[in-house]
């Protein structure tokens, strides 16, 4: 599909995209690691927020800095950085999430040479008033740090405009999920994932337009209805991994929802566009479903999963996350148990290295779909 082509192209080489963007616009590129990065502030500064997912290249240099028991995202990102593949970056932002990212930030700060480095030590519990206030202050400080770091001023108008853009982008991405849910023949999950991956690195203004065009196009196209397939909800972390969507679709499955930070969590929640803008950004994070490295009650993620299964009439759940990922590994047993109580089948796929996981996944996925 032509309209998806631009997204796919970016995904095939996001680093090249960023380099070209920089050359064309003369703007700054700010790398970041997670959906708790308030992208709006970066966009408001005229810079490009660039989500680092790692290129999946073989690890060699990073081995001198990180033990083998850290996840492939952390190791892969450092490898790319040490190899100079990220030399288009003007800075990096590390929102505090897991212990591995926390130490990666230190190692990164000590061994790489980007002009700007920010640790956004967001609160870990998100269900109290003091945490919300603190989060707001972290975002305010980040805005100031960007201003000093790059010698610019971000006024309220700029921030407001960035928030509007990101709200538009989020609304469009949500719309795409809606379309896939109701008419899966109109957009494949692997295509949708490409759109998401591109969205996290693309110039956000251009992205907003491209998404609008894509939606109009998809809505108007006539495609034959597909035979029914098994409806799957994905849960876990898609920080960096092989294309599981193709695998699921070729095993007669259809992804109907996920709780990935590179999926639904990226678009869920709208930021209020008037008033105290930093507070509004914080509020979106507070209200949105948490990442497992954050706390918002002890059943938050399990309940969310059940809710989404019901809403989307799912047949089964696939847990998928990286080996050595503590937050996800800790949540898995209780979430699986909650599913069992409801009689919902699930399978776990733990990914070690990006490259080597494909074949295994195919076999297990097919078996799981048969079982459903």
């Amino acid at each position: 599909m032509e309209r998806i082509g631009i997204f796919k192209q970016i995904v095939s080489n996001p680093y090249e995209y960023a380099r070209n963007w920089k050359e064309k616009t003369g703007g700054k590129v700010i790398g970041n690691f997670c959906s708790y990065t308030p992208e709006e502030v970066i966009t408001a500064a005229g810079a490009l927020p660039f989500r680092i997912l790692g290129s999946g290249a073989t690890i060699s240099k990073a081995n001198a800095f990180l033990q083998a028991y850290s996840c492939s995202l952390v190791r892969g990102a450092l490898e790319d950085s040490l190899e100079g593949r990220l030399n288009f970056l003007d800075g990096t932002v590390f929102p505090h999430t897991c212990d591995s990212i926390q130490r990666l930030s230190d190692i990164w700060r000590m061994n790489t040479n980007y002009a700007f480095h920010a640790d956004l030590i967001m609160p870990v519990k998100l269900d109290t008033e003091s945490a919300e206030q603190y989060m707001t202050s972290v975002i305010r400080k980040f805005r100031k740090d960007l201003e000093t770091g790059f010698g610019i001023r971000i006024n309220d108008e700029m921030l407001q405009k960035a928030i509007q853009t990101s709200n538009q982008v989020r609304a469009s991405l949500a719309k795409l999920y809606e379309i896939r849910k109701n008419s899966p023949e109109k957009i494949k999950s692997s295509e949708l994932h490409a759109v998401f991956k591109a969205s996290m690195v693309m110039d956000r203004n251009q992205l907003a337009d491209a998404l609008r065009e894509l939606i109009t196009f998809i809505e108007n196209q006539k495609v034959a209805k597909k035979p029914d397939s098994k409806r799957i909800v994905l849960t876990g972390g898609l920080c960096s991994m092989p294309d599981i969507y193709d695998v699921i679709e070729s095993s007669n499955g259809a992804v109907v929802w996920d709780d990935f930070c590179t999926g639904s969590r990226y678009f869920e929640g709208r930021i209020i566009e008037e008033g105290d803008l930093e507070k509004n950004i914080a509020q979106r994070y507070i209200n949105r479903i948490v990442c497992p490295a954050k706390h918002s009650g002890i059943y938050a993620r399990g309940n969310y999963l059940l809710e989404k299964i019901r809403e989307n009439h799912a047949d089964g759940v696939i847990f998928v996350f990286l080996k050595f990922c503590d937050p996800h590994s800790f949540d898995y047993p209780y979430m699986k148990e909650m599913l069992e109580k409801e009689g919902i089948p699930s399978m776990l796929f733990e990914i070690e290295e990006q490259a080597s996981s494909g074949g295994q996944l195919q076999t297990r996925c097919e078996a799981f779909m048969e079982m459903l």
């Binding site: 033990q67 190692i107 870990v124 603190y134 972290v138 503590d326 800790f330 949540d331 898995y332």
Partner: protein
Amino acid sequence: MTLTEKIKDPEKEKRKIKSDKKMRDLMTAYYIEAKTPKEQTGKKIAWITSGGPVEPLQVMDIIPVYPENYGAMIGASKMGVELCEKAEQMGYSSDLCSYARADIACATVNGGPIGGLPEPDMLICCNNICGTVLKWYEVQARYYKVPLFILDTPICHTEYNPDMKRYVTTQIQEYIDFLEKICGKRFDYDRMTEVGKLSIQGQRLWQEILDTTMNRPAPMTCFDAFFHLAMIVTLRGTKTAVDFYESLLAEMKERIAQGIGMLPQEKYRLVWDNLPVWYRLRWLSNKFASHSACLVADTYTSGWCSSMQYLDENDFLGSLAEMYTRIFLNTGTDIMADNIVKMVEKYEADGVVFHSNRSCKPYSLGQYDIQRIIQEKIGIPTLMIEADMSDERNFSESQIETRIDAFIEMLK
């Protein structure tokens, strides 16, 4: 029993730390009280993380219980593997912290050292040591269905800023409110002042005890510190800890006066980084001793007084936030490196032994950088041992032995 076993080697006897027995008795008494049915003691039980603020619990007459200390007991009694495997059957990945795995599994079985921990009435989780404890305590909050209080201490990579201060200070008040609600009684602020004084005294004494190893020969090693640490962790803020550490310190001073070292011969002085390898303490201690290498200091046991400088004796409660937020594990890798460099200088060490601990990512990731920093700044040999503090499956004796031997060669 043969005759030779009954006659004690006077040389060895002389070097034994006499306070060991007292320590054991006190810890036993502590666990007996904790395990006495609540109807008899009338006291509530809180499970708390090792870096959590225990002092307010003392004020409220709540008995603090430490799953991490229990994890160490599990490791030392070589029950780690069995319990970790049990956790893995429950669905927990073998890559998770072995304290967490062992404790989670232990809660569901009838067993473990001292027959298991007494059930908690509340859970107090302070994330100044890691993100693991947050997830671990969530698991236990679901299992025991008791209230969970999270003290969220933002990591200070490079700074402790006013926003953090405000946030943590507010939470200390929330913590007190939480305790008042659960206990149904007011918080006694005067008593807090007293407990605070005892806590500071205990920490000072502990630091003084650790500092006695600046002497040559060192009157104790870090293996002894690993053992005597339990007191500052579990009974911080009590008179018991202060009294015991006073006598332990006196014993150390006496040993120094008499020239008694822990090792028959002390040729090399080393610093240890990271948690102990609980199930191989004896083996490691003998191994180093056989080379006349004395582990004079470590980053782990000194962790419980690593942020004493931020405590204000006259405003304990007010300074609690900063002291608990700025413990060394909650700072940047470069600050942790500085800490080791200072230790090497202070204790005049000849080398550093790093335990790359699979279980503990916040402590271990970054060690390669620290190793390089030490080599650049002081140019002394360092050794990296790959292991795990409680899960024996990650310990390869022959490999570690070879590496230790080679390392000692470098010291010569």
